[in-house]
């Protein structure tokens, strides 16, 4: 949190520059000197994923969502916590060299998601593994246009003030760059020949883009009262119907930018002398999640687990004053059972019958 406060202090001197389309590839090549460059690339007809970039021409600027959110760089899907010597009962932290890396093209919702993870992983007890990677990562944000599943505007996470080093806003002939951290300033200073000053036309274009983007969202208003409505409708038939469709696969939690549950396991080596303590992503949609010693399960039924995700995501995150859900729409987009998370929340909000929304299904 201290880091966040520091950044917040810095935001008062927000600096704006512009980069032209012709310069953007040079800029991306220059970014590689700050660490390994990861950016979204198209991996199939429909899907994008973040990969290490060799040729900057591969980078997809118009992607909406990636297969896994940016959290995977900070909490690895599976990571080693300790090397265990079974005979001596010692636990040694693996010596891992964390190399600096650059995440290019992170959308506003994911940046808010990372700040929520900061609030959890760096609060009170500081998670060393997360903190080291967070310090090594440079975040370059990128503006986006929403698709049918996006509702970050209802979550107030459609525009970020802090949590990035640079943020690129699309202009007709380039990008307006907001500088959000000391590292961001340093990058702009060191690549000064690529940047120019922001002109009146650029400001007009930025305004136009923001306006167009706001109009593209399918729903307007706010979800601020959602947590109260969810509690009041906890006994509705809606939850029986919807949880019935659920396959319990955990795709929604894996693709969520703020889902952070993990499980820990000790894996012994074949010789029985050493072992590894690993942690890996877990999901509250699994039956094992609420199990305690003696066999009692605090989330016994599929409906319990299904509703738990809704209340957990919609609860209040004190650190930012928003909910844990950032409105990215990943859980709906990647749900194999076609459960419409946003649609269900809209039903809770307006209590009317759902509109027949025809989503092009994946």
């Amino acid at each position: 949190m201290q880091k966040l406060i520091y950044i917040f202090w810095y935001i008062r001197k927000m600096r704006y520059v512009k980069i032209a389309n012709e310069q953007i590839h040079d800029f991306l090549n220059q970014l590689k000197q700050y660490g390994k460059l990861y950016a979204p690339v198209k991996v199939s007809d429909k899907f994008y994923d973040r990969k290490e970039i060799d040729d900057v021409c591969d980078i997809a600027f118009d992607y909406v969502r990636t297969l896994l959110p940016a959290k995977k760089y900070f909490i690895h899907p599976k990571e080693k916590m300790f090397d265990i010597d079974i005979e001596n009962g010692t636990y040694d932290e693996p010596e891992e060299k964390i190399e600096p890396f650059v995440l290019f093209g992170v959308h506003a919702c994911e940046i808010v998601g990372l700040r929520i993870l900061d609030g959890v992983y760096l609060r009170d007890y500081v998670d060393t593994y997360y903190k080291r990677r967070r310090e090594a990562g440079i975040i370059i944000g990128l503006s986006c246009l929403p698709d049918d599943h996006c509702f970050c505007n209802l979550r107030r996470s459609d525009f970020v003030d802090i949590g990035f080093d640079l943020f690129l806003h699309e202009l007709p002939d380039g990008y307006l760059v907001r500088v959000g951290s000391p590292t961001g300033h340093k990058i702009v200073d060191e690549c000064a020949e690529l940047f120019s000053n922001v002109t009146q036309e650029d400001i007009a274009a930025f305004r136009e883009f923001e306006e167009k983007r706001q109009q593209m969202f399918s729903h307007h208003g706010s979800f601020d009262n959602m947590r109260y409505l969810l509690e009041l409708t906890a006994r509705d038939e809606l939850w029986d119907e919807e949880s019935e469709k659920c396959l319990g696969c955990g795709n929604c939690t894996n693709t969520c930018p703020t889902c952070r549950c993990y499980d820990v396991q000790d894996i012994p080596d074949i010789d029985g002398k050493t072992a590894e303590r690993i942690r890996f992503w877990d999901s509250c949609q699994f039956r094992s999640h609420g199990l305690v010693a003696g066999g009692h399960n605090f989330r016994e039924t599929k409906k319990d687990r299904f509703f738990n995700r809704y209340v957990c995501k919609n609860s209040y995150f004190y650190g930012l004053g928003t909910s844990y859900c950032v409105g990215c729409g990943n859980c709906t987009y990647f749900c194999p059972a076609g459960i419409d998370y946003l649609g269900n929340l809209l039903r809770v909000r307006s209590a009317s019958e759902p509109e027949e929304v025809v989503h092009e299904h994946n």
């Binding site: 079974i86 820990v264 010693a293 209040y316």
Partner: protein, 284 residues
């Protein structure tokens, strides 16, 4: 805690003694190997530690000894799975890894000057023993104390002998110990569920703090009886269990509550007040 230190690293502890309490339940006494940690380590009644068995994993266990005993602590462990099976094989002299203490613990500072009523059912005596021992060690800080310890059978009453042995001294100190069983026809003492003995307590309902621990199904009846006997619902506390993997509010296994009251039981609990419990589905 130092921020550069890994919060998941463990303190080495030596097993000093192992006692058999009842079938499948053992009481283990531990000491910190590092004298500096033994000196500085403190806990509050109702907190828990993460106990690690190499190559098997970690389990969260309530501390059941008084925090007044520096450098030592006791854990009461029931055999319920892979890790606890292995813990039962520990012998004096063996080493284990421990980290903690975690959780909010009982607000014992707030209890000072009031009467105490501790109601345990089944294995629930384990966490409440830390409150009881703390109160005994600081006898002058509290008013009258009653402990109600209940179980199904006489030979499954946790800490039965210990409580029996201190009964005479306790009575002189205004501590009432009530041990009751529900299903044992051969038991010579009191019978019936824990709540049926609340009326025998020596505590004044007007100024009593109540701590309850037991399996989830006992709470409702205990609460109802307490309120019927004029105990203040704001002064009823309950300690809960979950299978915490981290103990520090990260892993999410103990998240419970609803959208306006979402709590990590490991850092916001495991001790919760009566109104939190009854207004939050899924907490117990």
């Amino acid at each position: 805690m130092n921020t550069t230190e890994n919060i998941y690293s463990l303190y080495k502890c030596r097993v000093l003694r192992v006692y058999d309490l009842i079938e499948d339940v053992k009481l283990l006494l531990f000491r910190f190997e590092n004298p500096d940690i033994a000196e500085s380590w403190t806990c509050k009644p109702g907190q828990f530690v993460q106990l690690s068995m190499p190559a098997l994993g970690e389990v969260p266990i309530s501390i059941c000894s008084s925090p007044m005993r520096r450098g030592f602590f006791e854990l009461c462990i029931k055999k319920t799975g892979r890790v606890t099976d292995k813990i039962h094989e520990l012998k004096p002299g063996d080493f284990v890894g421990v980290r903690g203490p975690y959780g909010n613990g009982f607000p014992v500072d707030e209890f000072e000057g009031s009467d105490l009523l501790l109601i345990a059912a089944g294995i629930g005596m384990a966490p409440l023993r830390s409150v009881f021992m703390y109160a005994v060690d600081n006898r002058w800080k509290f008013g009258n104390i009653t402990v109600i310890n209940s179980a199904k059978f006489g030979n499954t009453l946790l800490f039965r002998k210990e409580l029996e042995a201190m009964r005479d001294v306790a009575e002189a100190e205004n501590i009432r110990i009530i041990q009751t069983v529900t299903r044992d026809p051969d038991w010579p003492g009191r019978v019936g569920r824990a709540q049926e003995h609340i009326k025998h307590a020596n505590t004044d309902p007007e100024k009593t703090y109540v701590c309850v621990c037991g399996p989830p199904q006992v709470y409702e009846d205990v609460f109802n009886t307490l309120i019927k006997n004029n105990y203040d619902p704001r002064k009823i506390y309950v300690t809960l269990e979950r299978r915490m993997k981290c103990g520090v509010g990260k892993c999410g296994h103990c998240i419970a509550g609803t959208s306006t009251f979402l709590k990590y039981i490991c850092i916001d609990g495991p001790v919760f007040g009566y109104y939190d419990i009854i207004s939050t589905p899924g907490l117990i």
